[in-house]
């Protein structure tokens, strides 16, 4: 744990400000606004994503944090309509990518975007690869579908990709099946698949959660390295605040299916505005000072998302709660030019 966290902390400030400078001028590649996804279940509708808006600049790494069930993954799956529909339904919103609204595209054009312009990495590398096909076959599939490469070209590119993600003797390993790879190696294969067609955006859905800590650190290193080499924008979903601090430019904190705080990574850690973000940061175990008797946790449970939100979803667990929190759901208030928070405490600022 220690080696990984120190590594994450070791990002130099100069590198960060460089990224910030490029961001100011970079163009927006992905713009999500007012996204709402509902699951129609037998016990009623579950509002998993509520009015989520964010944008992604070229080359930016956006971290999405939140606890389980906060709607992080569902939001990202909604972008490419990867959710099983039904039960899921995207009821509102738009996803602007390449001057098109992905939600309005027909399935045929959407498939060109999936795996072509937008790559996806999933949480569990143990089950995300098809066990009966060779790794080579699975890497070559998107290459042949999107880039219309022939078998030999696809093969050459697959070798290139495996070398890019740091798999030794790539040529031979193409013939191996997923069960012949370790967890970290499989996640590298997943990354190779996601990067196969030079995507503009890479969505990584908790790519390190299922891996042990040393392998986590390796995967994070690879992604950081590839980002520098290839210059794509990345959305990194995680519930590990430490990971986000190390790699993200901007962070969106999700709770109850909505973004409750959206800020540059420095602001978020130095001056968290939303009570949920503050509570989250407090739960992180400290490395210095007196050791706590018990790990700190946020009391209460994640909200039940049946029915639309009519009050602040965090109100029952919030330490700073007051009357207004129970009567209306706060919108995202803008604080300064780089931070937003969905809390009634910020009403006067916004």
């Amino acid at each position: 744990m220690t080696s990984a966290s120190t590594e994450r902390a070791n990002i130099t400030t100069s590198a960060k400000s460089q990224v910030a400078n490029t961001l100011a001028t970079a163009e927006t590649v992905l713009e999500v606004s007012g996204l709402e996804t509902v699951f129609h279940t037998q016990d009623g509708d579950v509002h998993a994503v509520n009015n989520v808006s964010f944008s992604l600049q070229q080359g930016e790494l956006l971290g999405i944090v939140g606890e389980s069930g906060s709607g992080k993954s569902v939001t990202m799956m909604s972008l490419l309509k990867l959710l099983p529909m039904p039960p899921a339904e995207i009821v509102a919103g738009s996803v602007k990518f390449d001057n098109r609204d992905l939600l309005q595209l027909d399935l045929e054009s959407l498939r060109d975007v999936r795996g072509g312009d937008i790559g996806f990495i999933f949480q569990d590398p143990m089950t995300s690869l098809n066990p009966v096909f060779t790794v080579g076959f699975q890497i070559m599939e998107p290459l042949r579908a999107h880039m219309k490469l022939n078998k030999r070209q696809a093969r050459a590119r697959a070798v290139e990709l495996l070398e890019l993600v740091g798999i030794p003797s790539a040529e031979e390993r193409l013939r191996d099946f997923p069960h012949q790879f370790s967890g970290g190696m499989r996640q590298r294969v997943m990354i190779a698949i996601a990067l196969a067609c030079d995507p503009k955006v890479l969505i990584a859905d908790e790519p390190t959660t299922a891996l042990d800590v040393t392998v986590q650190a390796q995967i994070i290193e690879i992604v950081k390295d590839l980002r520098q080499k290839l210059g794509m924008a990345i959305i990194w979903i995680t519930h590990d605040l430490g990971v986000v601090a190390g790699i993200a430019d901007r962070v969106a904190v999700m709770y109850g299916g909505q973004i409750v705080e959206y800020a540059d990574v420095d602001e978020l850690y130095s001056d968290p505005r939303h009570p949920y973000t503050r509570a989250l940061l407090q739960t992180l175990p400290r490395q210095e000072g007196e050791r706590e008797q018990r790990l700190i946790s946020i009391p209460g449970q994640a909200p039940n998302l049946k029915g639309p939100l009519t009050s602040c979803p965090f109100a029952p667990r919030c330490s700073a709660v007051f009357d207004k929190c129970h009567s209306a759901n706060p919108p995202l208030f803008t604080i300064g030019d780089r931070q937003k928070s969905a809390c009634w405490l910020e009403e006067s600022n916004g």
Binding site: F122, S128, N130, V132, F133, E141, H179, I193
Partner: protein, 334 residues
């Protein structure tokens, strides 16, 4: 894989010996008399002579040993002589009590009918089952799926002696479209005779195929449903592959692994014939042979037929295991 196969084949020998012994004693337990079907005018002394000549008065173990010797030595030598023109000394072959002709000759006469009717039914059943299984899983709880479930339920629960007679009543008696009896002497040598052959095969084949379809389509549906929710399916979709490739390449390949086993294990039943259906449509195949041999107390025929089925079952168990290893790279036998 080859080592494994050879090892399994050797292990099959004691298994089969044991099976044949059990079959022999079970058949012998029934108090049947091979001369019981002979005319009543035959005096008891003559009957005794006949029993003597058939060897039924000898101790059971001697009878078993004799049968084993005939099966393992005489029969293979006889067929070697037949096919390769060699001139080995062939001892007594296995003789049917009923017809006094060699059992193997009868089996070979009846094999084609069974293979044609039951084998075709099995193939047709599988070919119908595959698309039904795939589509009902892909559109779970759709009207198509509900209809498939209903038809499978009928296939599972309605026995062929009912469905067989039912289709005869409808298509032969009422409508007069199809012949009710399968004519095994019919020779196909022209288009017209082919049409007749086709018509007489329709009913027995469909009655049998209904059962196969019901079974295989249910298995495939369940297996597809298991796989459709797997993470690798989401990965395949996220790669931008078409639904056709996702379902028919990624999901189907995984779903076929358990289904292939079921299909392979069903093959011996083709050779076993469909005892009841063959009876209903008067197809004189192996299933019917088994029934009349049991009724006549024809021990050598029953013994030999059941042993053949046992060999096929053991063999196709091995085939299923080998196929499993070929289809699933995670399974290696060495």
């Amino acid at each position: 894989m080859l080592n494994y196969t050879i090892r399994r084949l050797f292990l099959a020998i004691p298994t089969l010996l044991f099976i044949s012994l059990v079959i022999f004693f079970i058949v012998k337990l029934s108090p049947s008399d091979p001369t019981a079907n002979l005319p009543l005018t035959i005096p008891p002394e003559v009957r005794e002579k006949i029993r003597e000549s058939l060897g039924v008065n000898q101790p059971l173990l001697v009878q078993f040993g004799l049968w084993l010797k005939q099966l393992m030595i005489s029969e293979p030598l006889y067929w070697t002589n037949q096919y390769f023109g060699t001139e080995f000394e062939v001892g007594q072959r296995i003789i049917s009590y009923q017809t006094r002709s060699p059992v193997m000759d009868i089996v070979i006469q009846r094999m084609p009918q069974t293979l044609w009717v039951v084998g075709t039914a099995y193939l047709v059943g599988i070919l119908i089952a595959l698309p039904i299984g795939i589509f009902s899983a892909y559109r779970q709880y759709s009207i198509f799926d509900q209809a498939g479930t209903f038809v499978s339920m009928i296939g599972f629960s309605v026995p062929p002696f009912f469905s067989g007679v039912l289709v005869i009543v409808i298509f032969s008696v009422q409508l007069g479209w199809l012949p009710s009896i399968y004519d095994t002497t019919h020779i196909v040598d022209s288009w017209d005779s082919f049409v007749i052959q086709f018509k007489q095969m329709i009913m027995p084949v469909m009655v049998l195929a209904l059962q196969t379809t019901a079974q295989i389509s249910r298995f495939l549906r369940a297996s597809m449903l298991d796989n459709l929710n797997q993470d690798y399916v989401r990965t395949a979709r996220a790669k931008g592959l078409s639904e056709k490739i996702v379902v028919l390449v990624h999901v189907l390949r995984n779903s076929m692994i358990p289904v292939i086993t079921v299909i392979a294990l069903g093959v011996p039943t083709i050779f076993g014939g469909a005892i009841i259906t063959e009876q209903v449509f008067k197809v004189n195949g192996l299933g019917q042979l088994l029934i009349i041999s049991i009724q006549a107390g024809d021990v050598p025929t029953v013994q030999t037929l059941t042993f053949m089925f046992a060999v096929l079952i053991v063999l196709f168990n091995l085939v299923a295991d080998v196929l499993y290893g070929l289809l699933d790279p995670r399974i290696r036998y060495d």
